[in-house]
């Protein structure tokens, strides 16, 4: 599932496509809608496996989500699939009022999120979807951290009644979890214990947090890493528990730091356990075109940037 025939890890979108097929086999009421992007998103695989349950709507995202609402109202479980930018921005009113307000059973993948979309530039390198989607009542939001997590999120989405938004990064991520990994809404995962600082990651950034923890370990700093794949609901308890232990924290997300995971964690900490916090992510700027490594450096989102933020948070904790 998470690897190809040769054992090499799969790109996340491959897992997305494969898991659509897996779920399609299990759930006959599942349908996939596409707005002219299926070979990019890999919704293609579902189209090939279940041509009769694949609906092409062309380049019309508002209609994509409206039709999904109508299908949900006749008993189907639609996955209206497009790039995250066009879900969260082009069709927000439809998602909000046609789908989330009545709580319809629609599962919304947001493909091509953040930095790894790279060359396409600001319009496609979607950074605001976490903030935007999080603001909608009734909607669950997830950013899976590896292939196993993505498959688990999709299974959970299918088993959960009501609307779900989940992110699919156009990248090949290192494995964090095994094949037996379970995803639960509102549950975070402690992936590395530590006592000096907590690094909360979501999506592809959890892997970077682990790398940052290695860098910090070399300096004798113990960084705890918590993966928050379920952004909404958030595991506020685990967030507070860990922060209570470590006394300071960093968040890392492949998205703008305004309103996203960093804010969700800041909200939770302020209510339960206020500690110094630094947020890593896109610092409120449009992400123009560029190579991925280049962009990660430019936006200070590399493991070393997380490590540096951790050092700052620790300094603040120590009051120096």
């Amino acid at each position: 599932m998470a690897n190809d025939a040769s054992g090499a890890p799969l790109e996340m979108r491959e897992v997305f496509g494969n898991t659509l097929v897996e779920l399609g086999r299990r759930y006959p009421q599942m349908v996939v809608l596409d707005a002219d992007l299926n070979t990019s998103s890999k919704a293609l695989y579902f189209k090939q496996a279940f041509p009769a349950r694949f609906i092409q709507v062309g380049i019309a995202e508002q209609n994509l989500f409206g039709v999904a609402a109508g299908l949900a109202l006749t008993g189907f479980v639609p996955f209206p699939s497009t790039f995250a930018s066009f879900a969260s921005r082009r069709a927000l009113d439809q998602i909000a009022i046609s789908i989330c307000y009545p709580g319809l059973n629609v599962k919304i993948p947001g493909s091509y999120v953040g930095i790894p979309t790279s060359h396409a530039g600001a319009s496609h390198n979607c950074i605001e979807d976490i903030a935007v989607m999080r603001a909608l009542p009734n909607l669950r939001v997830a950013d899976p951290g590896d292939n196993a997590d993505l498959a688990a999120v999709m299974r959970a989405a299918m088993e959960t009644e009501g609307p779900v938004y989940f992110r699919v990064t156009r990248a090949t991520l290192p494995d964090l979890f095994g094949a037996d990994h379970v995803f639960q809404w509102g549950k975070g995962h402690l992936v590395r214990p530590g006592r000096d600082v907590t690094l909360y990651g979501t999506g592809m950034m959890t892997g970077f947090c682990l790398q940052a923890a290695e860098l910090l370990a070399a300096e004798g700093i113990g960084a705890e890493v918590v993966h928050l794949g379920s952004i909404k609901p958030l595991d506020a308890e685990l967030v507070a528990e860990s922060a209570a232990r470590t006394g300071c924290a960093v968040t890392a997300e492949n998205a703008t730091i305004v309103g996203g995971l960093g804010s969700a964690v800041a909200e939770a900490l302020a209510e339960r356990c206020p500690v110094p916090l630094r947020r890593i992510g896109v610092r409120d700027r449009w992400v123009s075109s560029g190579g991925i490594a280049e962009l990660l450096a430019h936006h200070q989102m590399r493991p070393e940037d997380i490590a540096e933020a951790a050092r700052q948070a620790i300094r603040q904790k120590r009051g120096s």
């Binding site: 062309g58 209609n63 409206g66 006749t74 439809q94 009022i97 009545p102």
Partner: protein, 302 residues
Amino acid sequence: MRLAPDKLAELEEMAYQIRRLCVEMITYARWGHIGGSFSMAETLAALYFQAMRVDPARPHWPERDRLVLSKAHGSPAVYAALALRGYYPAERLYSYCELGGLEGHTDLTCTPGIESSGGPLGMGLSIAAGMALGLRYQENPRARVYCLMGDGELGEGNIWEAAMFASHYHLDNLIGIVDYNKVQAKGFVWDLMQIEPLADKWRAFGWDVLEADGHDLEALVEALHRARWVMPRGKPLALIAHTVKGKGVEMAEFNYHWHTQAPEPEAADQMLRELARAYGRPEEGYSRLPAESGKEAFYRGE
């Protein structure tokens, strides 16, 4: 398709009652859209009491016809029609806009017979098209999906996305109805955003088109009959119902001031009496005191 005289009388009575109840509920709630509710009265009478196969006892009956109210601000008229049709007691209409009552714009989660949640214009036709496609997948050949749209609403691009989709998928179980009352929120459609040539637009988007006088019940019933039984040949159908915004009460007719304006009790009284006279019914005025919740100092004006 000729209407029996007593059926025609029933439909007329329903159109009258829809208007009367709209005045009642909007005045009581101190909020609501009179003009676009009145213009649909005959259309809704023809739909709920003649054309549509629905069963108030089984609002989720799979084979039922669906009505998606895309112009969701016209909710009072639909709420009234549903009450008249027996979905719930008419008393419930007085909960319009109250917390826990009938929502200002349609909400499918809390009112039986309401098939979609709305408020923002331009979204309903996509929902209706999704339903029509879903019904076809379910091999449910009898059910029809009706979608009621405003004329000003046709300015929304979402409508034309849905229109293209519906014809691409040959959704001939979908019937779009345009309540062509010539007025939108703040003026005439031709002043604010011209939508003519309207029939050409639908045809160019792959739809069949019928036009009818939307206040002539016989014409409406005939058109809805053709739309359901004669015309479906691989294309969705648009019924352009030529109507008068505010139809039935002179001060509101073609008058955008009554697009969103709750009558004061005196105006409501006048409206109800004028309606009764026009329909040859015993005059009855407005009697309730508007709801407390509407009277807050916080919230003033139109």
